[in-house]
C-alpha cells in the first residue's frame, strides 16, 4: 500500500489528508511493523526507529497522535475501534467530494470486538464504498489459536452476510497482494465496502516462530534475534 498503491505526501504530512489516501492501523500492537514502513516511506528518519518504546519517543508502544508522529492520524491499541474511524474518515471524504481512498488493517483476534461488527453493519447499510479494509488472518492471538480462544467461524461468509465485498489473498505473496489490491480498487465506488482477508503466518520466515502463538506478545532475546535475522534475507539493517 505505502510503496505501490496509496496516493500520499509523506514529506508534507497533514492530519486532514485532503486529496490523499488514508491508512488506519486498527491493531495497534503491530506498531513496529507500521513505524518501519512509515520511516522508510519518508514520514520520519529511519534512525528514529531506535527510540521505539523509550521515554519521550514519538514511537509509542501503541500508535499515538499525542506525540505528533507524522503518518499517524489516530491512536490505536485498545482493539476494535479502527474500522469505525476509517469509515468516519471515508464519510468525510464523500462530503468533501474527495475521490481518494481509505484503507484499514485489522487483526483477526480483534474481530472478536463487537464494535467491528457495528461498523461493518453501518458501512454496508450506508453504501460506504470508498474504503478497503484488510484483515491479517494469521489465526493466532495471545492465549492461543483464534479457533480455540473464540472461533471466528466462516469469516468470509460473515463479512458477506454483513454486506461487504470479500476478497482473499496470500499475505506473503507480493504478486498476489498487488493483484488483489488492484481488484479491490476496481470494486470500489459501486455501493459496497470492500474487505480483503489476508492469509498470513505469524513469524513467517523464522523457523522457531512459525506454527506457534507464543511470540504474539513476546520479544526475542539477543541470541534469538540474531538467529531470526539470519533467516530473513530481506532484513533491513539500516537503523
Amino acid at each position: 500500500l505505502y510503496f505501490d498503491t496509496m496516493k500520499i505526501e509523506p514529506e508534507n504530512f497533514s492530519m486532514d489528508g485532503i486529496g490523499e489516501d488514508l491508512f488506519f492501523l486498527s491493531n495497534g500492537h503491530i506498531s513496529p511493523v507500521w513505524y518501519s514502513i512509515l520511516a522508510r516511506r519518508g514520514y520520519f528518519p529511519v534512525s528514529e526507529l531506535a527510540t521505539f518504546r523509550k521515554l519521550s519517543s514519538r514511537l509509542q508502544g501503541h500508535p499515538s497522535v499525542d506525540k505528533h508522529l507524522p503518518g499517524v492520524r489516530m491512536a490505536s491499541g485498545s482493539l476494535g475501534q479502527g474500522l469505525s474511524v476509517a469509515i468516519g474518515a471515508a464519510l468525510t471524504k464523500k462530503i468533501n467530494k474527495d475521490a481518494s481512498y481509505v484503507y484499514s488493517l485489522h487483526g483477526d483476534g480483534e474481530l472478536q470486538e463487537g464494535q467491528i461488527w457495528e461498523a461493518a453493519m453501518y458501512a454496508a447499510a450506508n453504501g460506504v464504498d470508498n474504503i478497503i479494509a484488510t484483515i491479517d488472518y494469521n489465526g493466532r492471538q495471545i492465549d492461543g489459536d483464534v479457533d480455540d480462544v473464540l472461533s471466528l467461524g466462516n469469516l468470509n461468509q460473515k463479512w458477506q452476510a454483513f454486506g461487504w465485498i470479500v476478497l482473499e489473498m496470500d499475505g506473503h505473496n507480493f504478486i498476489d497482494m498487488h493483484n488483489t489490491i488492484l481488484k479491490a480498487h476496481s470494486l470500489t465506488n459501486e455501493g459496497k465496502p470492500v474487505v480483503i482477508i489476508m492469509k498470513t503466518e505469524m513469524g513467517h520466515g523464522v523457523d522457531y516462530m512459525m506454527g506457534s502463538h507464543k511470540w504474539h506478545g513476546v520479544a526475542p532475546n539477543a541470541e534469538q534475534l540474531e538467529k531470526a535475522l539470519a533467516q530473513l534475507p530481506e532484513t533491513l539493517g539500516d537503523y
Partner: protein, 318 residues
C-alpha cells in the same frame, strides 16, 4: 430580584436542538450523528434541513464515537447525540482513545442526564458522567443552566477546537438566562453578588439555587450565586474571588457528590484557600423511576437542600 425574571419554560435539550439547527444553517463543516434518538435529542430540524450532513447510526454508540472521530479528519465538526449514559459510560474507551487521546474535534452532546430523566429509572439516569469526562485529558466539560444557555453553549462549542462534553436534560424548567447573554467557555457567570455564602451550581441546580437564594435572602442571608457552566476548565479565579468575600461555599449539582463539580471546587479550595464547603448532590446511590421533580426531592438535590446546606456552612465559618 428582577434579574431572575422567568422568561418562559423549556427543556435544555430543546436549546441544544435550536443551537444545532442554527449551526446547520451557518457552519457547513458541522455534521451530526445520532444513535436512534433524533426526536429525544431535538435533532429533527438539523436532520430535515441538512440531510447530507446528518448520520443515523442506529443503536451502536461505540461505532458512533469512532465514526465521529474519523470524520474530523478532513475538517468536519461532528456533534454526536444520544442520552448521557450512552454518551459516556457505554463508550468511555472509544472516547478515551479515539477522541480525547487522539485530539479529535468531536462534540459529545448528551441529553437526559441525571435523575430528571425520570420514569425510565436508574439504568438511564447517569450521575457519574461529569466525573468520567472531566478526568480525560484534553476534554472540555460544559453543563449549561437553562434553555437559552444550552443554545448559546451549543453554538459556542463549534468554534472551540478540541473535544467537548456538553451535558443537558429532559425536564421543562424555567428560562432565566437572557437570550442575548454572552457565553464564554471556562468563564463563570456570577449571577448575583453577596457576602455571607457562595453557592456554586451547574445545570438544573442553578435554578434551584435561585429559588434557594430567595428563601435565604428573606432570612437575611446575603448570597453570592455562581453559575459554573464550565466544569473543565474550571474558573478558579471566580471561585477564589468569591470565597474571599463570603468565606464558605455550597456546591449544587445533579450528579454524584463523588467526582462532580463539588469535587473540582474542593480541590481549588484545598490547594489555595481551605474553607468550609457543603455538597448538594447525590450521595453514592443509584436513582429510581419517578417524576423528575419528586426524584430531586427524594434524592436531596432540591431547593430546601440548598437552603439547609447554606445555613449549615455559614455556621461552620470561624
Amino acid at each position: 430580584m428582577k434579574e431572575f425574571e422567568v422568561l418562559g419554560n423549556k427543556d435544555t435539550r430543546s436549546g441544544f436542538g435550536e443551537g444545532l439547527a442554527e449551526l446547520g444553517r451557518n457552519n457547513p463543516d458541522v455534521v451530526a450523528l445520532c444513535a436512534d434518538l433524533t426526536g429525544s435529542l431535538k435533532m429533527d430540524t438539523f436532520k430535515t434541513e441538512n440531510p447530507e450532513r446528518f448520520f443515523q447510526v442506529g443503536i451502536a454508540e461505540a461505532n458512533m464515537m469512532g465514526l465521529a472521530a474519523g470524520m474530523t479528519i478532513g475538517k468536519k465538526i461532528p456533534f454526536t447525540g444520544t442520552f448521557a449514559n450512552f454518551s459516556t459510560g457505554r463508550v468511555y474507551d472509544q472516547i478515551r482513545q479515539s477522541i480525547a487521546y487522539s485530539h479529535k474535534n468531536v462534540k459529545i452532546c448528551a441529553s437526559h442526564a441525571g435523575l430528571t430523566l425520570g420514569e425510565d429509572g436508574a439504568t438511564h439516569q447517569i450521575l457519574e458522567d461529569i466525573g468520567m469526562m472531566k478526568m480525560l485529558p484534553n476534554m472540555t466539560v460544559i453543563v449549561p443552566a437553562d434553555f437559552n444557555q444550552t443554545k448559546q453553549a451549543t453554538i459556542a462549542i463549534a468554534e472551540h477546537e478540541g473535544p467537548v462534553y456538553l451535558r443537558f436534560g429532559r425536564p421543562v424548567m424555567p428560562i432565566f438566562i437572557k437570550p442575548d447573554a454572552k457565553f464564554e467557555i471556562g468563564k463563570a457567570d456570577v449571577l448575583k453578588e453577596g457576602k455571607d455564602v457562595t453557592i456554586i451550581a451547574c445545570g438544573h441546580l442553578v435554578w434551584k439555587s435561585v429559588e434557594a437564594m430567595k428563601i435565604l435572602e428573606e432570612q437575611g442571608v446575603s448570597v453570592e450565586l455562581i453559575n459554573m457552566h464550565t466544569i473543565k476548565p474550571l474558573d478558579e479565579e471566580a471561585i477564589l474571588k468569591s470565597v474571599g468575600k463570603t468565606g464558605c461555599v455550597v456546591t449544587a449539582e445533579e450528579h454524584m457528590i463523588n467526582g462532580g463539580l463539588g469535587d473540582s471546587v474542593a480541590q481549588v479550595l484545598a490547594r489555595n484557600y481551605p474553607l468550609p464547603q457543603e455538597y448538594v448532590g447525590v450521595n453514592d446511590t443509584f436513582g429510581e423511576s419517578g417524576d423528575p421533580m419528586e426524584l430531586m426531592t427524594k434524592y436531596g438535590i432540591d431547593t430546601p437542600n440548598i437552603v439547609e446546606a447554606a445555613l449549615k456552612v455559614i455556621k461552620r465559618k470561624a
